[in-house]
């Protein structure tokens, strides 16, 4: 062991213990971006107020997310004796008064909002958290501290074992660290699954100096927020992973590139880097062993292609974030044309676990195709939009049913999209696929970085294609004609099909675009058509009905429907007329009708006058 670290860890642990054995209740409120979106800051203020006004001797702190993102703000309360911790959900500001009264003043519990007992024994009314349906089957390794520690307090992280993996790596030769990573089987979590150890070895073998590490925290796939959960919940795990990579590759500086949409993650990573530096874990002479490594938190400025590693490198270099032509690969010529290794947040975050517990322990879950645990976020047509950590291999359906709580209103599942806008859509008949790399690769797409978006039978696949191709068009960097023109053409055709102008030849045009766009320099262009390609494989009939019958089976595409007043004297129509943004609802002698030429098909009227307005096919 390293003496200096032993001393640091000892002090950190005693401060952590002192906080836990002070005979006070500990109230830990989750304050991540999801919680903030659900009033978390107001809940915090209300808790502070309620505690202060009663003069209660209580410790109030904030944590990252437990993964129950749809039930924020969550809050855990540890009893004064330290024997029992209970996690509660949905603690909105208006519930704080009665909550504080029951839980803190009367030292009781609040079963109505309880999720489960974290520590201690279950009671009649509150079961163990690990038995909660959402927690069953999860293996919390990366997320072990998420919700359980204050992410802005390094003492908490160290008390839970942070930097121990790095300290043991200090005793190892770079080759041995890489050997261990290869033995674990850790694959890149950004989507490609490329062995992290091999990538590190490329950098170790580079000839030029200095060398750089980059942590890709650009997480641009809409519907994916696993990296956010880690950065906001346990930032030191990522720093430790980068430190281990630095030892293995002899890199001297690292960048954590975070999208600007994640201000809280940026703040927490900055705080963590600063605290690590103060402890001597980053800087010129780390822990007195003569190693140099430091980190810069770099904020992105809004560009999806900066999630591509060479686009990201150009962005830090100070240029438009256009992906480069490879080779040379970053390991030869990356940041400032010097050797660089880029890994995803979750990839780095796994390295400390391998170092602390060994490759065998680490790879003991999952399967031959992919090792270790994987974090997923679930969104779209689900009852529970949350974040889980599970072994690879669970089926998509289990993810939806067990953790996503099924589809809202029991509307049948139509399909899902793993891996972001470039990945593609699969139909519900593929919902039994195991969540691991190979089955998706075999079907021409990828599992991706962890965002899984479900859609139900009320969704038009042509609308989904228009959406994802429109996204690809907006975010194309402009280098390849195949990509920036190809996505434009695809969107034009999709829009035409979606507004009744589809032609038989359009389906062949898609085949042409699929071919030519595959020639694009980076994945953005070469994979942009995957959504259409797979939609044509699984949902071809929907395209054909639109083209041949000029009818949208889902009756949702604005270009394929009209709104009609079917009960012109209905009293709610006056409100519908006043809400209509284009004044398309006319009144004559107390009877209402819709002027079709003015109607933009937004559907606001049907929301307020559901019994008087009907959606009809426009062309049938």
């Amino acid at each position: 062991m390293n003496d200096r670290f032993t001393a640091i860890a000892g002090e950190a642990r005693s401060r952590w213990e002192a906080g836990r054995t002070g005979g006070r209740e500990q109230v830990s409120l989750c304050l991540d971006t999801s919680s903030l979106a659900q009033g978390g800051a107001e809940t915090l203020a209300a808790l502070e107020e309620a505690i202060a006004s009663r003069g209660l001797n209580v410790d109030l702190s904030t944590t990252g997310s437990w993964g129950f993102c749809w039930l924020e703000p969550t809050v855990s309360v540890r009893s004064a004796a330290g024997t029992r911790t209970v996690l509660y959900h949905s603690l909105t500001p208006d519930r704080v008064e009665e909550f504080v009264q029951a839980v803190l003043v009367e030292a009781g519990e609040f079963p109505e909002l309880a999720l489960g007992v974290v520590e201690g024994s279950p009671s009649q009314q509150i079961g163990m958290l690990e038995d909660h349906p959402f927690m069953q089957g999860q293996i919390r390794r990366l997320m072990a501290n998420c919700g359980q520690i204050d992410p802005e307090n390094i003492d908490h992280a160290i008390a839970k074992g942070a930097y121990e993996g790095f300290v043991s790596a200090l005793q190892m030769e770079p080759e041995a660290i890489i050997e261990l990573m290869l033995e674990s089987g850790l694959g890149g979590r950004g989507g490609a699954g490329f062995p992290a150890g091999r990538k590190w070895d490329f950098l170790r073998n580079a000839t030029a100096e200095p060398r750089y590490l980059i942590c890709n925290a650009d997480e641009g796939d809409p519907g994916a927020w696993v990296n956010r959960i880690l950065m906001e919940g346990d930032p030191h795990l990522i720093i430790e992973g980068m430190l281990i990579a630095a030892l293995a590759t002899q890199a001297v500086e690292g960048y954590i590139y975070i999208r600007h949409e994640y201000p809280l993650a940026i703040e927490r990573m900055n705080v963590a880097v600063e605290q690590a530096r103060e402890c001597g874990l980053l800087g010129e002479d780390i822990l007195g062993v003569g190693k140099k490594f430091d980190l810069v938190v770099f904020t992105g400025a809004g560009s999806y292609v900066c999630g591509e590693e060479t686009g990201l490198i150009n962005s830090i270099d100070g240029y438009r974030g256009m992906p480069r032509i490879r080779p040379p690969f970053p390991a030869q010529a990356g940041l400032w044309n010097l050797p660089t290794n880029v890994n995803n947040v979750e990839t780095y975050a796994n390295a400390p676990l391998v170092l602390r517990h060994g490759a065998e322990w680490w790879s003991s879950v999952s399967n031959d195709d992919a090792k270790g645990t994987k974090m997923f976020t679930i969104s779209g047509a689900v009852n529970q939009a949350g974040c889980v950590e599970i072994p690879f291999g669970l089926s998509v359906r289990e993810l939806l049913e067990t953790y996503g709580g099924g589809t809202p209103g029991g509307v049948p599942l139509k399909g899902y999209q793993p891996g972001g806008p470039l990945s593609g859509v699969l139909s519900a008949e593929e919902a039994d696929l195991p969540l691991t790399l190979a089955p998706f690769r075999e079907r021409g797409l990828f599992l991706g970085s962890g965002g899984i978006v479900f859609f139900d039978e009320n969704t038009s696949v042509v609308d989904l294609c228009t959406y994802f191709l429109g996204f690809a068009e907006d975010e194309s960097c402009g280098r390849c004609t195949t990509c920036f023109q190809g996505t434009q053409r695809a969107v034009e055709i999709l829009r035409r099909i979606g507004s009744g102008g589809g032609r038989e030849a359009d389906l062949e045009k898609f085949e042409d675009l699929i071919q030519t766009m595959a020639w694009s320099n980076c994945l953005h262009g070469s994979f942009a058509m995957t959504t259409v390609k797979l939609a044509l494989r699984y949902f071809r009939e929907e395209f054909e009905i639109l083209i041949r019958e000029k009818r949208d089976p889902t009756r949702t595409l604005p270009g394929m429907i009209t709104y009609e007043v079917t009960s012109g004297g209905d009293t709610s129509l006056a409100e519908a007329a006043s809400i209509c943004p284009t004044e398309a609802i006319a009144e004559e002698e107390g009877r209402f009708s819709i002027i079709d030429e003015l109607c933009i098909r937004c559907g606001a009227c049907a929301e307020v006058a559901p019994n008087a307005i009907t959606v009809r096919d426009r062309f049938v």
């Binding site: 999208r259 830090i316 779209g380 959406y467």
Partner: protein
Amino acid sequence: MAAEPTTRELRELVAEYEFERGHLIPALIEIQERYGYVSRVAIEVLARQMSTTPALVYGAVSFYADFRTEPPPEREIVWCSGPACRLLGGDRIREALQYTLDLPLDGQSEDGTYGLRLGQCNGTCSEAPQVWLDGEVVGNLTIAKAVTIARDVKGDA
């Protein structure tokens, strides 16, 4: 948010930034945080500081969606373009917002009092469909509610 920044203020603000150390984007972010946007003068000052061309600086400004080249509006609706929102009528909300405000996405009124902007998913999908009104999440929207918000922002009764 200050008024039109002067050359001298801008020079002081970016004096420590160096292109070779990856400071172009951080400098632009700092300028925008201070003044709300990146002005023509700012582009020229930054180019001089970084010993590069205004063209290169402008190239970056125009590439990244977050940078503005005119002062931000007083009130702003940022529309979430994410998939969870889309599946729950997000695109109809966009259409209704655009017509109500009479603005394209990323547009603002001529007098600068209100604007509409495209936002990216940040994983608060349980609130879908949502917009950010002056930085605050307004979630579980209906189209009718979106129209009401837009009218309020626009100053219509």
